[in-house]
């Protein structure tokens, strides 16, 4: 730690994200975006070496690929996973993806398509992408770098892209068995949908954050998970892996102002 001895919130979130892939077994870990990808890499390099990862294009690698320009680094190919095969992986359920949706609701439903009225949206985003298929077929987690009521909406998300646990959405005969939303890692806390009837709850609060603060920033009621504690700080070993996986420090650009992991009252 030369330029900055202070552990960043992004680093704390990376470690929290990596926990999503613990004890998943031998599946494809897809962390989409900087924090999830470093999180998945950290998982594979520490507690879960059995995970499969790609070079974010078409090859399976035996070692996570560092982010950004690689210099002399050569990805270590162990196999092939074209987009077409990723779909087969998805339909077979052998994947756990973590992405950052634009909206999330109390049922775990996500939106990556558009905000506002569907026919003439206020904001068109990407489209539903693979969320419908991912969410109904395999484990999913989420990253939210800006925990607030615009992400965690009070009603239903504007365009349900990823499925969740809202009973009215499931007609008789539709198979909900594979829906498995694991973790939601935000800049305030770690959440899951492990309450009664899949109610959302806070599993851990980041250092210096209160439950009330999280609830105030969330458009729907939250429960406190039994044993809700503080999100663990990264260890020195984890930080070393994170630095190796992100040599250009792209993680510092993920949260506005790159805040420290331990908030002061002012920072919160």
């Amino acid at each position: 730690m030369t330029e900055n001895e202070v552990v960043s919130l992004a680093e704390l979130m990376i470690v929290a994200a990596s926990e999503a892939w613990r004890d998943n077994g031998e599946i494809l870990a897809s962390g989409i975006g900087v924090i999830p990808r470093i999180g998945a890499s950290l998982a594979k390099l520490t507690h879960s070496p059995e995970l499969l990862m790609t070079d974010s294009e078409a090859f399976l690698v035996s070692e996570p690929v560092p982010l950004g320009a690689r210099g002399d680094y050569q990805p270590k190919y162990e196999g092939y996973l074209s987009f077409e095969r990723v779909f087969e992986c998805v339909w077979g359920g052998k994947r756990h993806a973590m992405i950052g949706p634009t909206q999330i609701d109390r049922w775990g439903q996500t939106n990556l398509s558009s905000v506002g009225p569907y026919d003439k949206p206020k904001s068109a985003i990407l489209g539903v992408r693979g969320l419908p298929g991912n969410s109904i077929n395999h484990i999913n987690s989420m990253i939210v770098p800006n925990h607030g009521p615009r992400v965690f909406v009070s009603g239903e998300v504007d365009m349900v892209s990823g499925v969740g646990y809202k009973p009215e959405r499931w007609a008789p005969g539709m198979k909900q068995d594979f829906v498995d939303i694991r973790l939601v890692v935000t800049d305030l806390c770690v959440m899951d949908f492990g309450g009664p009837d899949h109610a959302p709850r806070v599993k851990s609060l980041h250092p210096g954050v209160s439950f009330e603060q999280v609830q105030a920033a969330t458009g729907f009621p939250l429960l406190q998970a039994p044993g809700m504690g503080e999100t663990p700080m990264p260890t020195a070993g984890q930080l070393a892996v994170i630095r190796r996986m992100d040599p250009h420090n792209l993680r510092a650009l993920q949260l506005k102002g790159n805040p420290p992991a331990v908030r002061t009252a002012a920072a919160a």
């Binding site: 974010s56 077409e84 439903q109 298929g133 349900v160 959405r169 005969g173």
Partner: protein, 291 residues
């Protein structure tokens, strides 16, 4: 047996109102030379079927899209495609928004000349709710599971860019991933291929022959178009042109930006285009994206 056409000849075989599939994926291996030729043509009222990138954005900007069938539109490094957004937010076109896998399944159904294929993808989402024409179907077996019946995405024509082709319509894709172009070709009544390198007639070794993504009977026309995927990227031949993509992206925030972009890059024709982007010398320097 000589299927070579100019880009203009290929586009002249398309008709107003057609359903057009465009191969590639986001900013990857899009048949942009053919897209530019459509921009130069009077063709209109298209239904565009695409894993969308700037191909979709430019056709939207030019007002050519009556309906868009898509799962996403993005340029990756520039996540939000500006002209797609404008068209979408101004309700300038009809849309059929699909899960990526449903999209594939729809192409596959068309290639098999089937009316639908069942899938779990899309159930319990607004993809089902926002596409009231979509129907479900129940397994006739004991499980009784209800699937979404993804209708065939039948294409009047498909546009695909390849690394190499011969005049008979044989093609090679050399990149790390061939995406879903073979499914576009199978789903279409007529496939038009643009190619970096055009040969008279392939004589391949076995390893190279495996890079052939679909059979030549699917190919109706072959257009020789070097740098024909620019500004998207073509593995392993050249990378994406981020400067150009930024220039294009900026056109959406300037007054009259699209008209200026067209005047500078599209209207003068493809050889002018290649000169303006710096020709093969510059293309050789475009780096493959690192993800």
């Amino acid at each position: 047996m000589n299927k070579e056409l100019s880009a203009a000849q290929a586009v002249s075989q398309l008709r107003d109102g057609m359903t057009l599939g465009i191969g590639g994926w986001g900013p990857r291996r899009k048949p942009m030379a053919l897209v530019r030729e459509i921009l130069r043509s009077p063709l209109k009222n298209l239904t565009v079927v695409s894993y969308g990138g700037p191909d979709v954005g430019m056709l939207c900007a030019a007002g050519k899209v009556k309906k868009l069938i898509y799962a996403f539109v993005t340029m990756d490094a520039i996540p939000l495609e500006p002209w797609f957004r404008k068209a979408r937010e101004s309700a300038a076109m009809d849309v059929m928004e699909l899960d990526e896998g449903m999209f594939e399944w729809g192409l596959r159904a068309a290639g098999m000349r089937m009316s639908f294929l069942p899938t779990r993808c899309g159930l319990a989402t607004d993809v089902l709710a926002r596409n009231p024409s979509l129907k479900t179907i129940q397994s006739p077996y004991g499980d009784g599971e209800v699937y979404l019946a993804m209708p065939a995405l039948k294409l009047d024509a498909a546009l695909i860019h390849v690394n190499e082709a011969d005049r008979l319509g044989n093609t090679l894709l050399r990149g790390a991933d061939t995406f879903f172009d073979h499914l576009y070709a199978r789903a279409a009544d007529a496939t038009y291929v643009s190619t970096e390198v055009l040969r008279e007639r392939f004589e391949l070794d076995a390893d190279t022959a495996k890079q052939n993504p679909f059979e030549r009977y699917l190919v109706k026309g072959v257009v020789h178009a070097p740098l024909g995927a620019h500004p998207t990227y073509l593995g392993p031949d050249y990378g994406w042109d981020m400067d150009h993509l930024k220039r294009y992206n900026a056109s959406a925030t300037e007054e009259g930006g699209w008209e200026k972009y067209v005047a500078e890059f599209v209207a003068p024709g493809e050889s002018e285009y290649l000169a303006k982007i710096g020709g093969p010398e510059r293309a050789a320097k475009l780096k493959q994206p690192v993800f």
